[in-house]
């Protein structure tokens, strides 16, 4: 993949920066940030074609699970791979996230190498 547009959906600026920092490992990666689900949907309807979404679950206004559900119901967006990155580490949370249509589920604190590997597999880089 020559370049990729990543949408990072996180209410915590610290986590947004940390995730963006890890994504810079991908050549020509372009990172678009959103602070909650509603903001993410706005960015998704914008002119930039998003290649992958990384979203937190616990966010104000609209949480990550609702965002995953809405993306999967949208004909134009449903093919975008989604990774959930969250503090919720219980198995039932993981299952719920994956059942809604997320492609991967990563618990915080994140390991950059694990994140990179997961993204590489999803984008088949």
């Amino acid at each position: 993949m020559d370049s990729a547009n990543f949408l990072v959906v996180e209410d915590s600026p610290t986590m947004r920066q940390l995730i963006s920092f890890s994504l810079k490992r991908f050549k020509n990666a372009r990172i678009i940030e959103a602070v909650d689900g509603v903001d993410a949907l706005k960015k998704l309807s914008g002119p930039d074609k998003i290649d992958l979404i990384l979203t937190d679950i616990n966010m104000p206004v609209m949480d990550g699970l609702k965002l995953v559900s809405l993306v999967r119901q949208n004909a134009q967006l449903k093919g975008i791979p989604i990774i959930i990155i969250t503090t919720e580490g219980a198995e039932e949370d993981r299952e719920r996230g994956l059942a809604l249509g997320a492609n991967a589920y990563i618990s915080k604190p994140i390991q950059s190498s694990h994140l990179i590997k997961t993204i590489s597999e999803l984008l088949a880089v």
Partner: protein
Amino acid sequence: MSDESKAEKFLEIFNKGKEFTEELLRENQRLRFRVATLDNEQAGLSQEELQHLRHEVAQLAEENLRMQTRFREVEDENKDFANRYIEIEEQNNNLASLYVASYQLHSTLDFREVIQIVQEIIINLVGAESFAILLRDEKTNDLKTIASEGKDAIPGIDKISTRLGDGILGQVARTGESYFVSHEIAGTKVTVENPLAAVPLKIKDHVIGIIVIYKLLQQKDAFTAVDYELFSLLAAHAATAIFSSKLYSQSERKLNTIQSFLDLLTTN
């Protein structure tokens, strides 16, 4: 035919048979000699070849041994490189966390925002579920909770009030030395006074508060190397960020008061 001519004819046939037999015997002898010669030649050649082949086999076996040794060396080198790669990856990961934590802590002079960032670091980078941030009252030397998370798991952490030197928390604030549980986290009985970790917030040797960790996230069963680095970073950087944001807030308030006073004077 007369008996005499029959005898001559028989003798002639007999002589031809004799000659033929003698010829066969000679041929037989010649062939036996040839076979014997070939046998000898073949036996000599095989021996030589065998010798040669044995030599080659020995050389190949030696080469094979050398290759096996080299293969093991390369395999060890590969393992070493792989381990180093993992270590470097881990270091990169840790450095990224430390960089982001440091960057965020000094990105604002707003006291509430600084506290919010400290909380984000503790939740997202350390992976704590229940914790409290205590600040020291310089006049009374009391330590009081100014922010906390996960009070459902550990009731009372949102309103801790302890004196300098009292219990684990007070000792950490008095000595400026971090406290970590020395045994398995899983079996630790955690209470407000007995946390998993307590890290002093220090400006040089002066302790302005402490971060107290009570419970880690479900998916995290122990502190890692980077957690101790993060605690060290928080001890210094969070302390200066909190202190400077407090001073800034105070100076803002004073400035506003002075400005109001000046406005009052100029209006009159």
